[in-house]
């Protein structure tokens, strides 16, 4: 369906405070050139306002139409042709809001005009705050604002429905747009009653659940209360039964009769017990008496036996004691003799020892004197030796050190060498014959050989001959003299006339050293140590000893004692004394043994004597007792009495055993305890009964059973309801999901044909590429040379171009569908290079042959070569500049 805008005007609309009229728009391509800041985007907004924004809306969008700071009603109008039928539209917003649509059937206004306009353009009422182009139908897609053109976007629902309805036959599937939408909307509404958009339970579901839970809880509580009450009933019944049983028991007289009988029995038992005690005491007395007398008899017998035995032992001990005393006297005699002998031997030994000691003292004194004499002799030798030593030491000190001697020898050699050189340079003249007339250096010459070492004037007669030895000779002489002087100095230092003397002195010193060592050895030999006089080794010790020697050392006369004889005498005395001591020791030992034998016998004799005395006393004391004479008869009688008493006791014991007081007492106590506990139990049971009756009276009157029954039924009903609600919710969820899946699957079928239709357009821009569309017919990706490229990753220019091409392709499809199409592009292709721009303008120009295209641009030059109807906005409305 052709849709052509012929003219439009804007007044009091944003930038256009004064009227702007754009006229003369043609069927094909219209290029409206607008300088910047003239309100290019406002033109598109004004057209959208005219055709799609409700005249009586007061949304933020509509309010934005009012020029800043003014209070006027923005006005837009347009003349257009739809399928070659002319229409005229005028809208004013906010102030004096109005719509007027004039067509072949005349003029309509207000809501009717809006509805008619929607029908004409295939748009729907826009209820959004800021304008939703999806509600604008085909023109929402094809009138492209500057910002919208930059991205490839999906067409709105209306366009999609148009496209799919066109393709339904082709793909063999039906989108069923309208009825689907209505059914879907209803299901969604029902779904919302049960589920949140994210699939969480809500509304009826949660209410039913909460109700079910609440009733369940209430039922449970009611049931619990009822159970409690039932427990009270049961407890009351049980307690009453217990009380009845108890009362019956308490009414029973058996216990009190039994107690009475038992008390009587207890008395009897106590008497029997008393008798038993008496009998036992009697028997015990008899036993005690018997025991005492038997004991007396036994003690008498024992004492007599002891007396006899002790007497026998005493006699034997006394006999043995006499024998031992005799042996001891003999031993004592022997010991006395040995002691005297021993005393004598000791005195003799002491005398011998003294004599020997004195002899030894004298011997030592003589030895000392001899030693002192020897020391004095050695001292004299030492004095001589030390004298020789001093001489030798003086001589040894004259030794010349080896280095000095070597230096002297060097100097000798240097003199010799200098002499040799001087000798070589000497001029020798030999005079023979008469030499009288000859003077040499003024001195008369002598025949013989003469050596000249310096220029020498030889006068021969009147003649004088100057003999000059070679210059070297003079030098050699000087050297020689120097060498000699050095040698002389060295000799002077040593204090020797010449080298030979030096050597001789050195030899002598060397010999003296040897002598020194020898003398030292001799001195050492002459000064040994001598213990006898406490003399240490060495010359100094000797000299000191001599110097300090007392003059009296030689006073004792020279006599020599006989030490061996003295020693022998002493040894013999020692032996004699030892033997005497041995004899004495053995005698004393014999005496001690005799004493040892005697002592125990004496003790035993004393003890036995005591035993005899004691035993005798015992026997006497027993026999002195009054019962003694009758003892045997008394014992016999007592034993008979005991036998009698035992029989009586046996009888009493039997009597007592038949009546066990403890057992009887226990039984009486048990009966009393039973009675007491029964009384207590009765009190307790009566208390319980009163309490339970109280509970039952209070609770029972509240109709708990009926309430519980009601609560139970309500809970069951709530559960049934919950099940129904859950089933309904599940059903709605399934249905909604199924519808959604079916819609997605079906819409996916339309993608292929749309891609096929797009291919020729996009193929011109990107030859050989494949296109990928999403289910909502948005171009998602392109495939070039086998690799996928997502649209959003393409360059801005390409994205913009693709956005425009897909729109043109959709426009063609929509036109085929009979929808009103026209293309308005607000400053398009700003990112295109020259080649692409040419290609795109070619495509737009071609599209303009099929539909009206209005291109708003500020780039006059970019579109200068494009053939089309040019309208320069700034010029046509100079007021808005």
């Amino acid at each position: 369906m052709s849709f052509v805008i012929r003219r439009f005007s804007v007044n009091g609309f944003r930038k256009f405070r004064t009227p702007l009229v754009v006229d003369g728009l043609t069927n094909g391509l219209n290029i409206i050139i607008e300088p910047n800041e003239t309100g290019k985007s406002t033109v598109l907004d004004a057209l959208r306002a005219a055709f799609f924004v409700r005249y009586n809306a007061s949304t933020q969008l509509v309010k934005s139409y009012v020029p800043h700071g003014e209070a006027i009603g923005p006005e837009v109008s347009a003349d257009f042709e739809l399928n070659h039928v002319a229409w005229s539209l005028r809208k004013q917003f906010l102030k004096s809001k109005a719509i007027e649509l004039t067509g072949p059937q005349g003029r309509t206004q207000g809501e009717e005009a809006e509805v008619q306009l929607n029908t004409l353009l295939g748009s729907v009422r826009d209820t959004s705050r800021n304008g939703d182009t999806a509600t604008h139908g085909a023109l929402g897609l094809l009138w492209v604002a500057q910002t919208e053109a930059l991205a490839v976007s999906a067409p709105g629902q209306i366009v999609r429905d148009s496209i799919t309805s066109m393709l339904e036959a082709e793909v063999g599937a039906i989108m069923g747009g309208e009825s689907y939408q209505k059914v879907r909307k209803r299901i969604d509404t029902q779904y919302d009653l049960y589920w949140t958009p994210t699939g969480q339970k809500r509304g009826r579901q949660t209410e039913a659940l909460a109700h079910a839970e609440a009733t369940q809880t209430a039922a449970q509580k009611a049931e619990e209360r009822l159970t409690q009450l039932e427990h009270s009933f049961t407890a009351l019944e049980t307690t009453r039964t217990q009380l009845k049983v108890l009362q019956r028991e308490m009414a029973d007289t058996t216990d009190s009769q039994t107690r009475k009988d038992l008390l009587t029995e207890l008395e009897t038992a106590r008497a029997a017990a008393q008798i038993l005690t008496t009998r036992k005491a009697e028997l015990d007395t008899l036993h005690a008496r018997l025991s005492t007398l038997e004991d007396l008899q036994q003690r008498h017998t024992a004492a007599v036996t002891a007396q006899t035995n002790a007497n026998a032992r005493l006699a034997e001990t006394r006999a043995r004691h006499a024998l031992v005393a005799e042996a001891r006297a003999t031993a004592n005699q022997k010991a006395q003799t040995a002691r005297t002998a021993c005393e004598q031997a000791r005195t003799a030994r002491q005398a011998a020892q003294t004599a020997l000691r004195m002899g030894e003292e004298l011997t030592r004194h003589n030895q000392r004197r001899t030693a002192i004499q020897a020391a004095c002799t050695r001292h004299d030798t030492l004095v001589d030796l030390e004298r020789a030593l001093h001489t030798a030491q003086a001589q040894a000190r004259t030794a010349i050190p080896a280095t000095q001697l070597a230096a002297l020898e060097g100097l000798e050699r240097a003199v010799a060498e200098a002499q040799a050189i001087a000798k070589a340079g000497e001029t020798r003249i030999t005079l023979s014959g008469t030499t009288t007339d000859i003077t040499i250096d003024g001195a008369p010459a002598q025949p013989g050989e003469l050596t000249l070492t310096h220029p020498t004037w030889v006068r021969l007669g009147q003649a004088e001959i100057l003999i000059s030895p070679p210059a070297t000779a003079t030098h050699a002489q000087t050297e020689l003299a120097a060498a000699r002087t050095k040698r002389q100095q060295a000799l002077d230092d040593l204090g020797v006339p010449d080298s030979a003397a030096a050597r001789a002195r050195n030899e002598a010193a060397h010999d003296a050293s040897t002598t020194l060592r020898m003398l030292a050895v001799q001195i050492t030999a002459a000064t040994p140590a001598d213990e006898r006089i406490s003399l240490a080794a060495g010359p100094e010790a000797l000299k000191l000893f001599v110097r300090e020697l007392d003059a009296t050392w030689n006073s004792t006369p020279d006599t020599q004692p006989n030490i061996p004889a003295l020693t022998t005498a002493r040894d013999e005395a020692e032996t004699a004394y030892a033997r005497a001591e041995g004899t004495l020791a053995s005698a004393l030992e014999a005496l001690r043994r005799a004493d040892d034998d005697a002592l125990p016998l004496a003790s035993a004799e004393a003890a036995t004597t005591s035993d005899v005395k004691h035993a005798t006393q015992t026997v006497e004391s027993i026999e002195a007792r009054p019962e003694w004479p009758e003892l045997t008869e008394t014992l016999r009688r007592l034993r008979h009495d005991i036998t009698q008493a035992a029989v009586t006791l046996e009888q009493a014991t039997r009597n007592a055993a038949t009546h066990d007081t403890a057992a009887i007492t226990r039984r009486i106590e048990a009966i009393e305890a039973r009675a007491k506990s029964a009384a207590e139990a009765r009190t307790r049971l009566e208390t319980d009964i009163a309490r339970l009756e109280g509970i039952i009276e209070t609770e029972g009157g509240q109709g708990l059973a009926e309430r519980a029954a009601t609560a139970r039924e309500e809970a069951q009903t709530a559960q049934i309801k919950l099940n129904q609600v859950t089933a309904e919710a599940d059903m709605l969820k399934l249905l909604r999901d199924t519808l959604e899946t079916a819609r997605n699957e079906t819409s996916a079928k339309f993608v292929g044909p749309v891609a096929r239709r797009m291919q020729p357009y996009i193929g011109r821009l990107l030859p050989g590429c494949d296109l990928g569309f999403s289910e909502d017919l948005a171009l998602e990706k392109i495939t070039r040379a086998g690799s996928d490229e997502v649209c959003t990753s393409l360059s801005r220019g390409t994205q913009e171009q693709l956005a425009l091409l897909t729109r043109i392709a959709f426009a063609d499809m929509l036109q085929e569908q009979g929808k009103p199409v026209s293309l308005i592009l607000d400053d398009p292709l700003v990112y295109s290079d020259d080649t692409r721009l040419d290609l795109m303008t070619d495509i737009i120009t071609e599209a303009a042959t099929r539909m009206q295209v209005i291109l708003l641009t500020c780039r006059d030059r970019a579109f200068r070569h494009v053939a089309g109807n040019r309208i320069i906005l700034g010029q046509s409305s100079p007021q808005t500049a």
Binding site: I174, G176, I187, G700, A705, E706, I720, A727, E745
Partner: protein
């Protein structure tokens, strides 16, 4: 001598699963039955009404229930002999003490198993239940009960007759020949909710006001004329207000259902009718929807109460149904998908079945709008 024999009043029954209005009506009808009985007694000149147990639904009813019951009974001149049954058994400090403390002269509670002379020579032998469950025959004691100078011995008991066809655990069982063995002129029984003759001298009166969907004849009392040495004459008297009906209808299409439905409505008083209706058959989806729609939008409103069980009424989308949806594209695809799910069976299938039905409903509603 004439007496009225009733039982199983079940006063205070909750009916909680019903809507509040229905619930109130059902509750009220049970009390009204007392008035109906009282009126019938007056009309027939009957002095004694014997209630054979389960006067109350529980052993612990609300005070209001007790007071309502007693005030209704006190309005009438006859004497009410109330026997504790298994629902309202007698025990110390229990329900009957509460009743007795409020009862007037016309109401007698028989909590002791001891004969009572109600008129000169006319004795009632009661067998009150003192536990919810009694394993012994409560009427066993009748044979030993002394009734000096009796011209009529009337037993009053609550329980089932032994081998009485009950599948339940046998409790409170009564010997079928008790009347003969205990030399009774009449044995008035309670527990079975329908009126039933056990033998010529032994009857169940049933409940005077129906309280559940029951196959037996309910909603009656028995007018019993007893003469010494003769078999009693027993006449059921209708007392019930509400009719509880159970119906199973086999239906495969809307016309068949409509006929059935119209016939039913013609035979009943809808305002006093409670219906439990089970539908079975195989219908087209649109017929099923229409049938359920009729029940939901029409019958349910007419009747006092309607409980529809339509799980066995299988709704199959007809080729026409599917074709209509297929025309709608996505809806058709969704329907096909749901059908596939139904064919798979399992738990999902039931949900899918409902979903498909809902889809048809919403789609068809589309047509009518």
């Amino acid at each position: 001598m004439k007496i009225i024999h009733s039982a199983d009043w079940q006063l205070g029954k909750p009916f909680a699963r019903f809507a509040p209005t229905v619930r109130a009506a059902l509750t009220e009808a049970r009390f009204d039955a007392i008035d109906t009985i009282g009126a019938a007694a007056a009309q027939a000149g009957v002095q004694h009404v014997l209630v054979a147990g389960d006067v109350f639904d529980t052993e612990g009813p609300e005070d209001r229930t007790i007071v309502q019951a007693l005030s209704r009974m006190n309005r009438h001149a006859c004497r009410w002999w109330l026997l504790p049954g298994n629902h309202d058994f007698a025990r110390n400090g229990g329900l009957w003490d509460r009743v007795r403390s409020r009862a007037g002269a016309g109401v007698r509670v028989l909590t002791d198993a001891a004969p009572v002379e109600i008129e000169p020579g006319v004795w009632i032998l009661p067998a009150p239940l003192i536990h919810r469950h009694t394993l012994n025959d409560p009427t066993h004691a009748f044979e030993q009960m002394q009734t000096p100078g009796a011209t009529l011995r009337i037993g009053l008991a609550h329980g089932s007759i032994r081998d009485f066809g009950s599948q339940m655990e046998s409790q409170n069982q009564i010997a079928p020949d008790r009347a003969q063995r205990a030399n009774l002129d009449y044995l008035a029984l309670g527990d079975w909710h329908g009126a039933l003759r056990v033998n010529s001298r032994t009857w169940y009166s049933g409940t005077p006001e129906t309280d559940r969907f029951h196959s037996a004849e309910t909603g009656h009392v028995l007018m019993v004329d007893i003469q010494p040495g003769q078999e009693p004459t027993v006449t059921p008297l209708r007392t019930g207000r509400f009719t509880w009906l159970v119906r199973d209808w086999l239906t495969n299409d809307l016309p068949a259902f409509t006929i059935e439905c119209d016939q039913f409505l013609a035979q009943t008083d809808p305002s006093t009718t409670l219906l439990q209706l089970s539908l079975a058959g195989i219908a087209s989806m649109s017929d099923r929807i229409a049938i359920l729609g009729r029940l939901e939008n029409d019958i349910d409103h007419r009747l006092r109460y309607l409980d529809v069980r339509a799980d066995d009424l299988v709704g199959r989308p007809s080729p026409d149904d599917m074709a209509a949806l297929a025309m709608e594209g996505v809806l058709g695809a969704a329907a096909t998908s749901l059908e596939a799910r139904i064919a798979q069976g399992g738990q999902d299938a039931a949900t899918a079945k409902r979903a498909l039905e809902r889809l048809f409903i919403e789609y068809n509603r589309e047509d009518t709008v």
